[in-house]
Symmetry: C4
Subunit: 224 residues, 4 copies
């Protein structure tokens, strides 16, 4: 996870600040390569350790993508998905709202970096600074879509479509959480009118069983 964070920083700095001296830029590229190598080693290790190797590969597609995709430079940031998944996944156990908030912020940030990287300097592109990219990212994920900024390159649009789908998912999660909370809150508060629980019926069954035992004792007494 720390490796993923370092990777993210090493990726973000040269994108946000295009006027970096060449030496520093080269260093950060090296850092990226090193972190990716760490990811690769970690993944290979986990595959080798796993009892059923093929099943492990099939069941962890995000991990595989995080390792395989960065080989293509522009898709590097997808590796950060692994980071989102890890950080957010741990929060999930606690609270859905927290997970959604953290995941949204990470997806918005990473998308803005990826689109900025794809768009800057392209002819006709409007997204040229990280502030604009971040603003565009929020406008997109909420499905508002002013259109004051919009990607024009194929790569930028690919990330944009991903972000839009995340936006739809975000809308869905917010609505679904509210709906399930509302439905629960509305539920009948009068205990007598609530559905009979399995425990109620089990208690009753126990009573009937004891009754049968008593009736059997009666028959025994009659026999005497």
């Amino acid at each position: 996870m720390i490796a993923a964070l370092v990777f993210l920083v090493a990726f973000a700095v040269p994108i946000v600040n295009p006027g970096l001296p060449r030496g520093l830029r080269a260093t950060l590229m090296t850092v990226q390569d090193v972190v990716w190598a760490i990811f690769l080693v970690d993944y290979v290790y986990r595959v080798l350790v796993a009892p059923k190797k093929w099943e492990f590969v099939r069941k962890h597609p995000i991990d595989l993508a995080a390792v395989a995709l960065p080989a293509l430079r522009p898709l590097r940031l997808v590796a950060a998905l692994s980071f989102v998944h890890q950080v957010a996944g741990e929060k999930l156990r606690g609270h859905v709202a927290m997970y959604v908030a953290v995941a949204t912020i990470l997806v918005v940030t990473i998308s803005s970096l990826a689109v900025l990287n794809a768009e800057r300097g392209e002819p006709g592109a409007s997204i040229e600074t990280w502030q604009d990219a971040l603003w565009w990212s929020f406008v997109t994920v909420t499905t508002v879509g002013y259109g004051d900024y919009a990607p024009v390159t194929a790569e930028g649009r690919l990330f944009a479509v991903g972000l839009m789908l995340c936006g739809i998912a975000l809308l869905g999660i917010v609505t679904a959480s509210l709906a399930s909370w509302l439905i629960e809150r509305i539920a009948e508060p009068d205990p007598a009118k609530q559905p009979a629980t399995a425990a109620d019926v089990t208690a009753l069954t126990e009573q009937v069983r004891e009754l049968r035992a008593e009736v059997l004792a009666l028959r025994g007494g009659q026999g005497t």
Copy 2:
């Protein structure tokens, strides 16, 4: 279904690639006509075979539309709806998410082709290449709507309205699936607190019936 696929390809190629030689273009038009003829024959056959002819026509409006509408050239792609319905309908039995994903991709692709076909070359039109059309399609179906591309012809706008309504349906399906999943997940995990099932009550009723038999036996014993 293979016929529908051929039709789709024969439709898509001349739209995406407007610089086709005249001969090839004419051939593809012929292919479209042939496939449509196959659809027509297949539909007429199924109507004739059906025991109640009028009921069959009334209950399969999409099939009818797929056969009748292509007579009007610009509405040809609606025939592809039949294809979407067939392919996606089979997946549905397996999984809702899969159905939604396949249907969305098909609707987006077909809409982008239809709008590109309607818009290209029109005065004031901004959608001129299939890449732009696909991008516009995604921006519309997610209800983001940047407005960097927008149809200007009546025909293009008709398809656009259809796509927007699909977008609303998509949003609705994503949200509804999440809501039903969440409501299920939240459900009480303590088995004793779950509502009594019909099986519980049936088991109890059986016990009471046996008890009555025993009491009757008791009365019989008393009579002796």
Copy 3:
């Protein structure tokens, strides 16, 4: 209802077709006034007939608005709300989806007329023909919002905000219907695992009551 339809037509024609001869235009205005007078008489009659006059006024705010507002020319179309409510309300009893479809089409049509009426000829306005107004209406109600057309007058924006709120309601209704359908469909199909119904428990109670009668008979037999 027929009166409302006549009113709608008398309202729509001069808006959609601004080049009407003066005489016809004046006639249509007179028709509007006459229909409004009919509404007024009908409303006053219903108030006078009602046993509790003030309660009737308080409980039918839409009827009151439909009668009072048309006095201000530009808000005339709100009277058509009464029409929407009547037509759609009758369908509701049958089917929610039908109601939503009819109401949406009517709201979209009326809004496009109202905004066209407010915008046409204003400096800086982009909505100048009924086709553009209708297109703008659909783009707004689906919350896509390209921004290729947007109202610039206070009156046009007032109707636009109303239309947007309808759009949110539309989205909500579509999603909610899908959610309730999905939750129902997902419900446990195994009858033994469904919650015990009140009927099941009533049947069991009846059995226990008969058992008690038999035990009482036993006691009677013992007494002999």
Copy 4:
């Protein structure tokens, strides 16, 4: 609450009407400072009175924000959040729909003031009058997003993102309310098919208990 209203008015007037004479403007600024001082005194008093001081501070983050943030001039309006919360919170007990309506109107109004304050006079800004700001606010909160007006300053965009998130919440609340209402309305109306209530089972258990008492009496009779 009256203090919050005075604060809101004192804040809104100089923003909406930039051509105020200097003296009046200065007076309003003083009013703002006085109201803020009242807030501060009220908050400090409540902290001192509270039995567990730290817990009170931790549990009322909005109150703290309302007091601390206005020290930074541009974030002053966040203090009005306290007002929204108080007014709307009281309505909530009555009715969710009312709460949502009041909260939406307040959030839209306050956001339009905040963005107008941030944008007016900035180079490239399009939001220059309170009418435009209010229109932009509605276009944003409904996630329509025409893009005819959009903030260009960092501060304006910060408020815009907040408004967008409110818009998503609004959509979610409308949908969730409709869904819970629909699910309730669809619920089985046949009383015999409704789930057995805890009361039903309790009544049955009582019957079985009386039966056992009778059987015991029978055994007693036999003993004689």
